[in-house]
């Protein structure tokens, strides 16, 4: 039984039909990536899972519990954490305050402090800048902060939206190393990426989205060798 199951998801932005019957599943302990061109519906899929958008039909189940029509709050509490596209950190708060906000739904202060410690272990750079205003961090550090903040709710499933966006190649490598680390300590990751090569290199399974539909799916390794994917997303 997969950890997260999306069944026939249809999402509209007004009259625009953004997701056309998406069905996908994420197995526990894997890294699953969603790749595709601009406007394919990758971000929309993540936002629907985390409750920021609603699907008109179908259902989402997480560990067999339905998430459809539940509030974003409930979804965070049940163990899904969303690291939104474009980082969206709280610029006028310090780094540590940003991280504390990530644990907003958790009541046990002691456990939160323990999580904070592990987050600082993953991101030593953030610890150095604990009291700095988040808006003054560099792009890469802001991405780390956004990921750290998402980890503060101690998620079973982490939704990562375009973690490599706007970052230098060296930093992209570092971010992906950290994603692997996060995965190794037992967090399942659903990754949305435009950088298909990078995404496929660390994933177990992948879905290719094309204008709101899943056009291809399969083991990440198999996909990265498929001619169609090579042509469309890996540059020949």
């Amino acid at each position: 039984m997969p950890m997260l199951q999306l069944e026939d998801i249809n999402v509209y932005y007004g009259a625009i039909h953004a997701l056309k019957g998406i069905t996908l599943s994420v197995e526990e302990g894997q890294i699953v990536s969603l790749i595709g061109a601009n406007g394919a519906g990758k971000t929309t899929t993540l936002r629907t899972i985390s409750g920021l958008l609603r699907s008109k039909t179908g259902g989402i189940t997480f560990f067999d519990k339905p998430l459809q029509k539940k509030s974003a709050e409930y979804i965070v509490c049940s163990g899904i954490s969303h690291c939104p596209e474009g980082r969206r950190i709280f610029a006028n708060m310090t780094v540590s305050e940003n991280l504390e906000m990530g644990a907003f739904t958790r009541k046990d202060k002691k456990e939160v402090a323990a999580t904070l410690k592990t987050v600082y272990e993953h991101f030593p750079r953030l610890k150095e800048r604990m009291f700095q205003m988040a808006g003054t961090l560099s792009g890469g550090e802001q991405q780390m902060l956004a990921m750290g903040r998402a980890l503060m709710s101690k998620p079973k499933l982490l939704l990562l939206d375009e973690p490599s966006m706007g970052l230098a190649p060296l930093l992209v490598k570092e971010i992906f190393t950290i994603i692997k680390e996060i995965h190794e300590i037992g967090t399942t990751v659903l990754l949305v990426e435009q950088n298909a090569r990078m995404a496929l290199s660390i994933s177990d399974y992948a879905y290719v989205l094309e204008t709101g539909k899943i056009s291809l799916q399969g083991e990440a390794r198999a996909l990265s060798e498929s001619e169609d994917v090579k042509k469309a997303y890996l540059g020949g």
């Binding site: 985390s50 920021l52 509030s71 974003a72 709050e73 979804i75 965070v76 509490c77 954490s81 969303h82 690291c83 939104p84 969206r88 950190i89 709280f90 610029a91 006028n92 708060m93 310090t94 540590s96 305050e97 504390e100 906000m101 990530g102 907003f104 739904t105 009291f131 205003m133 956004a146 903040r149 998402a150 709710s153």
Partner: protein, 324 residues
Amino acid sequence: MMIKRLRKQDAIFLLISFVVFAVFQFLISERILSSFWRLNIAVICLNIILASSLNLINGITGQFSLGHAGFMAVGAYVSAVCTMFFHLPFICSILAGAAAAGVLGFCIGVPTLHLQGDYLAIATLGMGEIIRITILNIPQIGGASGMSGIPTETTFTWLFFCMIVTLFVLKNIINSNQGRACLSVRENDIAASAMGINTTEFKVFAFTVASIFAGLAGGLFSHYFGIAHPSSFTFMRSFDIMTMVVLGGLGSLSGSIIGAVILTFIAAVMQSYPEYRMIVYALLLIILMLYRPNGICGDKELVNVILGRFKKGGKNDGTVAENK
């Protein structure tokens, strides 16, 4: 050590306010201040309550509300009705006024706070006017000629005490978990909801709390002047309060205090030339936008800035070392 720092700040704050209170109480009771300045000190206290509570909505939660005068009107009229028709004691009617404004704030907040930015400003502006026009058309409470003969029970002591309570409550809210949640809504509401913060809930919370204090100020207002008149609660008053908040700095309580003091003082000095008052306001705002676009205090608290300077030797970021 965060807690310790806050407690120390509270002590300093209470000490300073006690000294200020003693000085003014002495000046007032010895009649050194003319009645004109006595009046203006009372207005300053009222404006501080109004500005700091509006700051919770506009500065901390980042929602643009322009209907504060409406809630003030509700507080003024409800408390006046309580003392005049039901002969409740002063404190009960003031609390009733505040509670009524709070309930109304909640009821209005739930539908309107789904709106954002300009739309919210328009909705709250309209709501303030609706409240005023409604009052204008109820003959039992005086209609257009207003209510007069309200017992003038508000003294300087009451005003000052209520002001301190307001500031204290707001300060504690801002430093609490709820306050953080409100701040995160201002900073980025998508990220806030992705963190599992129910953004509408915290917007409504801030709106309700601010309405309660606006109602409190209204009650004090009507019992200070002995009259409640619809023309005291036009949108120009909401705009005045807004100006104080922006001048002082969105998100800074000490900024709101400074803004309220400066603007009330200017209004008092310009009393004889009311037509020039708005020119001075406008100039002040233009100068502010050019040289300090974030307001006099920015979003920092004065105490933090001073303490920060003191501890870190001139590092003006307002973040005092939080040893954990």
